[in-house]
Amino acid sequence: MFDLAFSNLHEILDMNGHGIYVWSVYALGISMIVISFSIAKKRESLAYKKK
Amino acid sequence: MVRLIKSEIFKLLKKLKSWLGPLLIMILVLIAFPLSIDISQFDLDKFYFSIIVVSILMTSFVATEGMFEEDFEDGSLEQEFLLEKDFYKLALAKIFVFVFLIGIPLALIGAIFSFANGVAFNSFAKVFLILSLSNLLLFNVFAFGNALSINKGAMLGVLSSLPLALPVIILLGSSIRTIQYGDGFISIIALMIGIGLLMSALMPLIISAALKTHID
């Protein structure tokens, strides 16, 4: 259950040819979450500044 | 109520653009479609219905655009509010008149065109009935969208009422299949009448709340 499913980095990235799909989805997901956090942070500091 | 219905009929008939416009668009689309494809390659009667369904969706949206906008812009809504204290009756009357004067003629046009494109003559009445009922549903839905967006343009109207219109379209599509394959017609008509009555009773309540918020 806790064994790595892949034996090397290349396999991790490639995932038997499915890597492009899997990694692009996660890349978009992570970046969307990060971007929305940074927008929210920016908005908050703006709101404080307006005071 | 009679007063409202009478005045809505009078006003709509005076506005030829709002009244005849949707009917003409419907005719135009239904004529344009066969001309835009290679008829020899397609079995037109198989999917001509779906063009009718989509045109019904579009024209009923066009027809209800500005349903409440005019009354909002010229101050009639406020006067109506002073008389009735809410807009339930106004919304009910407007939807009724629009369905009667635009929705049912649209359904008639749709039925005539479907008949002209290879649908058996004896299902003419069925098609007409189904299209009329679905127009009742669609006009309720788009009246709601229009009451929400009033003078804020079609984009907001589409975004707010399209999710409500899609189930109606699905219902319309499957009821048309029951005509084509010949079973379950009565039950689907009963379903549509039930939803239609429920919607006609409840939608004006919601529209009234939205309009009240607008003039606030």
Partner: protein, 191 residues
């Protein structure tokens, strides 16, 4: 006789506070003149009195719940694609309609009664809109800047009409930056 009373009305739109803690009563046969600069919230106050706008705080209490109010605001509530005659027929019936026709005549609109309202001048449209108030029998008349766009003769007619209604016991609320020349209670909203 008291028609309605406003208690501690406070209203603000978004962040702009329009007025704070206004209280007043309106009695029959009494005129209330609401004054104030542009943007002081005169029209909004009228709409609060009418129950169209809900105030942020406070209460407008109608003594008689089914009080008959006639109102003319900034918007004329006439249909531009109908003729004046059709507009009136849409609004009134029987005795009231006769009354409305009488006013159409007095305002000198009979010669344009079959033209489209959209083609009428601003003043003519305003007159047409005023007929709504004049032909209705009501217990309270609410007018928002009724004299704007009216010529002297029509303004006088309106003043006479209002004075007559007041003597009949109708209540009146109006906003106007022109002196209405009627005996009024003043309510000043400031700038």
């Amino acid at each position: 006789m008291k028609l309605l009373s406003a208690q501690n009305i406070t209203h603000s739109i978004n962040d702009a506070k329009l007025f704070y803690n206004l209280s007043f009563d309106i009695n029959s046969a009494e005129a209330l003149h609401i004054r104030g600069g542009n943007g002081s919230g005169k029209s909004t106050l009228l709409r609060i009195i009418l129950g169209i706008t809900t105030p942020s705080k406070g209460l407008v209490e109608l003594i008689k719940p089914d009080l008959k109010i006639s109102y003319l605001g900034h918007k004329n509530a006439v249909k531009s694609y109908l003729t004046p005659l059709e507009n009136l027929e849409l609004l009134f019936h029987d005795a009231e309609l006769k009354h409305a026709f009488k006013w159409l005549d007095q305002f000198g609109l009979t010669n344009v009664q079959d033209e489209l309202t959209a083609n009428l001048s601003f003043g003519q449209q305003k007159k047409l809109a005023l007929i709504r108030v004049m032909a209705q029998s009501s217990e309270l008349i609410v007018l928002d800047e009724p004299f704007v766009g009216l010529d002297q003769a029509t303004a006088d007619q309106l003043k006479n009409f209002l004075a007559e209604k007041l003597s009949e016991g109708v209540g009146l609320i109006l906003t106007s930056h022109i002196d209405p020349m009627i005996e009024c209670i003043e309510l000043d909203l400031g700038v």
